[in-house]
């Protein structure tokens, strides 16, 4: 997993609430056997018509660019498909900001080097307002400091992240390596319970 330290970037605002993973990546694109290329179909049915014409959607608006997606409440609900996180990462997003994340999506994001930043509803509105007033406004994410800031708009927010997950993100560690290091304890657990 790619390490995450400090990110400075523009933002892409997606004000819709309850964005489910079927919208992030529709089921018909889940037929791959590897993790590559999902970015092309990120938000496919909101981005393109059936005959592949660009729709009026924020990813098709050149005014907005960057590695930070700012999304409405309850982002990533629904299906457990990790393809949603792969699609966001493949498209180039490293951070998703929302006032609420669905559990499974949040875990999948963290396992793919995408940082989910949960802010309050008021803070989310302030961020949307800042982007609205200047679409190319820059944000800075400092994971070590657990800080999200938009200096131009005077926004400075601290965010929560589990200490273990923070360590994994900063060092680029995967859970699987940690679990493999615990094989002895796991085997002992199996023997004790039988």
């Amino acid at each position: 997993m790619e390490k995450f330290e400090i990110l400075e970037s523009g933002m892409v605002p997606l004000t819709i609430e309850n964005v489910d993973t079927d919208q992030i990546i529709p089921a018909r694109f889940l037929k791959a056997t590897d993790r590559k290329g999902f970015g092309e179909n990120l938000f496919r049915d909101w981005r393109y018509t059936n005959d592949n014409q660009a729709k009026d959607f924020v990813l098709n608006n050149d005014a907005y660019a960057g590695k930070i997606l700012v999304a409405g409440n309850n982002f990533g609900c629904g299906s457990s498909r990790e393809h949603a996180a792969w699609a966001l990462a493949d498209y180039g997003f490293r951070v998703v900001v929302s006032s609420f994340f669905a559990d499974i999506f949040k875990g999948n994001a963290l396992n793919n080097g995408i940082l989910p930043i949960q802010v309050s509803s008021d803070e989310l509105q302030a961020i949307f307002t800042a982007i609205n007033s200047n679409p190319s406004i820059q944000a800075k994410v400092d994971l070590e400091m657990q800080q999200f800031r938009i200096d131009e708009a005077g926004i400075v927010l601290s965010f929560e992240i589990n200490a273990y997950k923070k360590m994994c993100m900063i060092n680029g560690y995967d859970d699987i390596d940690y679990l493999l290091s615990q094989k002895e304890a796991i085997t002992a657990f199996e023997q004790n319970r039988s």
Partner: protein, 458 residues
């Protein structure tokens, strides 16, 4: 200390806890399917590590399989590749596979319980959010992403923080026309699509105590639709009777010992939950959804609520519906009875009982998709196939089918489909398709009438 059902099962599966971090939770059974497992097998390959406990993994092909001509090679090249890849991976790593053509093949959350793989007090995971279904047995069962599928392959464990606990109690007597699906749609409509996020839910009260195992599965299946990682119902005699005699269930003395243990699992009197909700069963009526998340549900005949929220307006626009209007008597063109929510034999019995002696509307295409080969066999054994066929319904072979439209079973754009599945998200049943979630009886009644009807008013 007083413990909840959830605490008891969770605590007995914690290998250890990471300091300031998640628990290492031991997993008893890992179910896999063709769509969310290939990339996890790739991780084993890349890291050159073995699959740690192949005997605790069960595989089936369900998500993208066709529901016609399953004896022939799959026509869609990508689907065929995924299913073939699953077979190869299972063979290479020694995993039991109930693939196409096997008498045990079916939707992963239908075959687990029916084969006795699912048992009370277990921990179970699957790369599918509806793994919550198995919670009906008093099992901790939840969906995981593919990275976690790889972790369970490698270590038979997942790293996960213990969720908070919620109890949803529904007491009193249900109206005779109310189905388990109506109960869960009612709860989600009351609490909202994100109310359970961060929680594991226990469903308690007389309504669930009196419910069949299949009804309990329908309820727990949709826990994820209120955001909860999983739902559970305390195991009781109904549970023990269901498990007894199933292929992979314990037998004889081993079963007696297990049952004695399972009887210790229900929540202790006086144990506390982080959050409690209570509902009166008598208030529940047949339900239907009008929007694009499962929390947007109403009693059939109620009016669609009004809201100036932008996401709500967008949702109604997609559905082609107006706030303040009623869905009662609205024409529909498609009916789907199937999915891991409602594709068990009781669902088809209930639908067939309504349909018997009636004809479907000529304006409706009505699809019946059993959850497993065993359910399909039972449908024939009970003569339900003739009931459906005589009424003009189309009976297909098992799979996830039009619930998520990964195969050819798609609902056309702008068509209204009364569906017994679990999600009414935009495009879920096909690009532009408009899904109205309901129970199998409401779906069957819609197919017959060609419009939405309230069976409790007939």
């Amino acid at each position: 200390m007083k413990k909840t059902l959830f605490d008891k099962v969770w605590d007995s599966h914690v290998v250890s806890s990471v300091e300031n971090g998640p628990d290492i939770l031991y997993i008893d059974k890992h179910l896999i399917h063709e769509v969310t497992s290939p990339q996890a097998f790739n991780v084993l390959e890349e890291k050159e590590i073995p699959l740690f406990r192949p005997n605790q993994v069960v595989a089936t092909a369900d998500h993208n399989v066709p529901t016609e001509n399953q004896h022939l090679p799959i026509q869609d090249a990508l689907s065929r590749k995924q299913v073939t890849q699953l077979s190869k991976n299972c063979e290479q790593y020694g995993v039991t596979l109930y693939g196409l053509g096997h008498p045990y093949q079916g939707i992963v959350h239908v075959i687990g319980p029916e084969l006795g793989v699912t048992q009370p007090g277990m921990t179970m995971v699957c790369g599918d959010s509806h793994t919550s279904t198995h919670g009906a047995f008093g099992t901790i069962a939840f969906g995981i992403g593919t990275s976690q599928v790889a972790q369970v392959f490698a270590s038979q464990c997942v790293l996960v923080a213990k969720p908070k606990s919620m109890r949803v109690t529904v007491s009193g007597d249900l109206h005779p026309d109310v189905q388990p699906k109506d109960v869960v749609l009612y709860i989600i409509a009351k609490l909202g699509t994100d109310a359970g996020t961060g929680y594991f839910v226990e469903f308690a009260g007389s309504v669930f105590e009196q419910m069949s195992m299949e009804g309990r599965m329908t309820v727990c299946n949709m826990s994820i639709e209120m955001g909860a990682r999983g739902g559970m119902i305390a195991p009781d005699q109904t549970t023990f009777d269901y498990v007894t005699g199933r292929e992979f269930a314990p037998k004889g003395e081993a079963l007696e010992q297990k049952i004695a243990y399972w009887k210790t699992l229900p929540t202790d009197e006086g144990a506390s939950f982080d959050l409690e909700h209570h509902f009166d069963a008598a208030d529940i009526r047949p339900m239907i959804t009008y929007g694009t998340n499962p929390g947007m549900g109403i009693k059939i005949g109620e009016k669609i609520p009004e809201s100036d929220d932008a996401s709500f307006i967008k949702s109604l626009q997609y559905m082609g519906l107006k706030a303040g209007s009623s869905l009662l008597h609205m024409p529909i063109s498609h009916v789907f009875i199937g999915s891991c929510t409602n594709s068990r034999i009781e669902d088809f019995r209930a639908a067939a009982q309504y349909v018997k002696g009636k004809q479907k509307s000529p304006d409706v295409s009505a699809l019946i998709v059993p959850g497993s080969q065993q359910v399909a066999k039972q449908i024939v054994a009970e003569g339900l196939d003739r009931v459906f066929e005589e009424a003009g319904f189309v009976l297909r072979q098992p799979g996830c089918s039009a619930c998520l439209a990964m195969n050819d079973d798609k609902i056309p754009a702008e068509a209204y489909c009364v569906s017994t599945s679990n999600r009414n998200f935009e495009g879920r049943q096909g690009q532009g398709a408009r899904t109205l979630l309901a129970s199998p009886v409401t779906a069957a009644a819609a197919a017959v009438a060609g419009k939405i009807v309230d069976v409790s008013q007939q």
